[in-house]
């Protein structure tokens, strides 16, 4: 029920590796780390959700603010390696339409 977040800087790209569960308790921690990155001008912020096995609307809220922030700073937010369950939350709410999402490889073992 915890969340760890670490940032790897690669030239014009910031990679945010998120591990754990994103809920009302852990979302503020994600927001604290993610939002400052999105304020940098002309950057790519890649959020790796490979090891996030749970996310609810509190996570959506964080990614919505991050997306808005990147638009203001001409940066780009990308969500990569989403697990099936996490992707589903974006799909149900229709947010997969406005977010740049690259899900995990489908058709593998679940």
């Amino acid at each position: 029920m915890n969340l760890t977040v670490n940032v790897v800087e690669e030239n014009e790209k910031s990679i945010l590796n998120v591990v754990g569960e994103i809920d009302a308790y852990t979302a503020p921690k994600l927001k604290e780390t993610l939002l400052p990155l999105t304020r940098a001008e002309g950057k790519i912020i890649e959020v790796n959700l490979e090891n996030v096995n749970y996310m609810d609307s509190t996570g959506l809220g964080v990614f919505i603010s991050a997306l808005k922030s990147t638009k203001e700073s001409n940066s780009k937010l990308m969500l990569v390696n989403l697990q099936e369950r996490v992707l589903r939350i974006f799909e149900i709410t229709g947010l997969d339409e406005i977010m740049d999402i690259k899900a995990a490889i489908r058709g593998g073992n679940e």
């Binding site: 029920m1 569960e21 809920d23 009302a24 609810d56 609307s57 919505i64």
Partner: protein, 158 residues
Amino acid sequence: MERFDFVEVKVPAKAEYVGVVRLTMSGIANRMGFSYEDIEDLKVAVSEAITNAVNHAYHETEQGEITVGFGLYADRIEIMIADHGGSFNLIEVKNGIGPYKSNEPIETLREGGFGLFLIEALMDDVKINNSHGVIVLMTKYVSEKEVDVDDDQVSTTQ
């Protein structure tokens, strides 16, 4: 009257307890024979309702309690989340619940953004009562393809 087991959990109205109730939900749903997908749906729906209750409670008082009641029936689970902290009677509360109407004052629920929307999308039936605090009653049916309710093992054959 239809027979059911009832489990009640009471937690402080704080975000750190959302995960605790989610774990309880997972355990109960697993015991009832819900599929992996349905268990994940139930975990999200319960967390959304608790998150709403936590936000609601913070606006009302500094310290509140959230009461969660799980009604375990042969074919479904009924979950009640109440943010007034008091204990409640399943039958009594059910009688006081009508269909959700969009003109009801539910600003406090809506502030979670997509929370209520997700609850409605993931559960089979959702009712909200806000005459005494906010009570969410939601139901999910055990899918028929599940075979053995008492089977703790994850079946590898379909």
